[in-house]
Symmetry: C2
Subunit: 400 residues, 2 copies
């Protein structure tokens, strides 16, 4: 298996960069995207060859940036289950509804995909130290893979980030610093520190390989549906790397000839308390405005202005998709409903997507015969305090 990567390109100003050197943002400030020799890859591999490979994201190695297999840093990530939600589909009148469960992955969230590919590629490029600001889960994932790679991770985290993610970082030996502020404050500290420290900046979209890990969700959904695209893919949207990645994967699969002209309509689901993409979508704007005083129970999508907002919006516009906002109350109700009806204990961000899909179905934006895929980005067990229950006691000498 060899990688068919042949360079990096700026999606904004189209400038090309050498992928064999460490690269971050384009001179114009945009994130860079990896480009592949898709003709060559298409000759080397097809859906049949992939079918026989181990069930992890490295089954798409030709379309990933790691050039020497020896640099792959893996904990068995990817090829997460696509779970049919038959009861719910029948109740709301979807043609079919699937949950892509990113809870079943190292560190319990989809962040592991970006970290696995990002760290593998950083190792390949000779990086010894990476640094990033994080709301928790990305830091945990990058710390974990960095430890496995023998790379030191420096992690800046708001003190309000989920407690368990702090411990994940610290347990694997990352250098963790808490900040009495937001992730944006952490980012500013990092920016001030980098000139002297010369760390590899692994902030969202500031290196080009995290997105390559995330895009494998797109390949997997299509493979797991028998190389068919669904009508709708709905994604909880904060930084937007997942939606950008899935859209990139879909376009690559078109060029590879693995799927036809039809693309799924991409849906960005946001919390009403932090909905910059929804606001931009309403105005058909190409970029988003900073969303002030953002607040939501879905901590992972509390991103008031994403660096890749224009790429997210492009994915929505080009696929005939949309953006939808849901209230925190709807998120918590959706979380309980999905748990009780389907046995799926999702993270609040995944619950937000379910709430969004119900809205779109109610408005008939999703038609009765259509197939939708709900991306659940993490396991509910990382959020022990999201629900609380007043449970009854049974006396030790009693019966029920």
């Amino acid at each position: 298996m060899k990688s068919y990567i042949h360079g990096l390109v700026c999606p904004k100003c189209k400038k090309h960069y050498d992928h064999r050197k460490v690269q971050h943002l384009c001179e114009c400030g945009s994130p860079l995207l990896a480009e592949y020799d898709l003709k060559g890859a298409g000759r080397a591999v097809n859906s049949n060859t992939i079918a026989g490979r181990p069930p992890n994201l490295w089954r798409y190695a030709e379309l990933l940036p790691v050039e020497d297999e020896a640099n792959i840093v893996s904990l068995g990530e990817g090829f997460t289950p696509l779970i049919p939600l038959s009861r719910t589909a029948a109740q709301y009148g979807f043609g079919a509804l699937y949950l892509k469960d990113e809870g079943l992955i190292p560190t319990g969230t989809f962040k592991a995909r970006g970290a696995a590919v990002g760290i593998s590629r950083a190792k390949e490029l000779g990086v010894k130290e990476v640094a990033m600001p994080t709301n928790g889960n990305a830091g945990a994932a990058w710390s974990m893979y960095a430890a496995r790679a023998g790379i030191t991770a420096f992690i800046l985290m708001p003190e309000d980030a989920p407690y368990i993610t702090r411990n994940e970082c610290a347990a694997v030996g990352a250098q963790v610093y808490l900040v009495k502020g937001l992730i944006s404050d952490c980012g500013k500290i990092l920016a001030r520190s980098i000139p002297a420290r010369r760390w590899y900046d692994a902030s969202t979209l500031k290196e080009p390989y995290r997105i390559e890990g995330k895009k494998t969700m797109g390949y997997e959904i299509v493979e797991q549906l028998g190389w068919q695209v669904p009508d709708v893919i709905a994604y909880p949207t904060g930084g937007g790397v997942g939606i950008i990645g899935i859209y990139k994967a879909l376009k690559e699969m078109q060029e590879l000839g693995w799927i036809g002209e039809k693309l799924p309509r991409m849906v960005a689901v946001q919390a009403a308390g932090c909905a910059p993409i929804v606001e931009a979508y309403k105005k058909k704007a190409p970029v988003s405005d900073f969303f002030p005083n953002s607040k939501t129970v879905a901590f992972g999508i509390n991103v008031p202005k994403a660096l890749g907002d224009f790429l997210v919006l492009e994915a929505l516009y080009k696929t005939g998709g949309c953006a939808v906002a849901v209230e925190d109350r709807e998120i918590l109700d959706a979380l309980r409903e999905l748990a009780a009806a389907e046995g799926c204990f999702v993270c609040p961000e995944g619950a937000a997507v379910f709430a969004g899909l119900k809205k779109l179905r109610a408005e008939n934006w999703i038609k009765p015969e259509e197939t939708a895929v709900l991306l659940n980005t993490g396991t509910g067990i990382k959020y022990p305090d999201i629900l609380s229950f007043d449970l009854p006691y049974c006396a030790i000498d009693g019966e029920i």
Copy 2:
């Protein structure tokens, strides 16, 4: 795919039972084991046919008890990664060392395997209500699959059980009762309640199908090693269902002709604070004595007397295995060591196994050229308080 189950048998008194009816313990008090027409199964399926199937435990459907595929209740469980621990193997001089990571499974612990198969089979037998005492993780798993099956779960849990597991049960709609006592007290309440309530008793080994789910770990390890057996499989041993199941799988694979005469040496790892199997093993006794005042940080293996102790000990004796005890301090050190060296954030029970393997290697009970498999039964993220760190702050206007 059809199941080749043809009955249930008592491993103690050899009495046979009809698997098409609800069955619990044998008249003699022993757990029952499922028996298969292995000749028939061997004609229907081989390692090549299995290779092409989806990566979950249902790939071994011929060797599982569910007779009609429509009754399978699945959340994508099984075929968890077998992760090479190369750095650690080199450091301690193992030939090879692998971690079977049961953190990447619904509910984050190996309990999902038993629950998936147990609930599927209960559904097949027409069961509407199940009940069980639990230290947390089993209750969470059975609640989750019960919700998906449309079965009501009644769960009795010590108030000291991990908080997150309470919420998992309650979130999916299980009827949860807290008890100011131990799991044994919960079991007694259940026993008193069952005559009037007529629940299906899903307590450990009191129904014969949980073990069938657990045994798939044995099939997977062998398949993932290219249908070779390792020299040693080490398992954290509380109730012992995992070790009994893996041993059962190995014997089935021998009869199927999928492996040769050599079996891996099975190792039961226990906490020094609760080591009934280790005590019995030292005396070469066929059963264990109740271990008084048991206490350990590894809550999941705090089982002072297991119903299936004789089956665990048989697995050790018949394979030339052993039992080893580790101190809580060694468990916590092992947890941190594995995290930092390999990026694997395991549960305390998995860490206990690593501590045990290091001991056996130091004593040369495991030889330098030998391959060992470490069973990690759950993800570390379910134990947010197991480690604590005093993390530094960085000023909001500072740098690092």
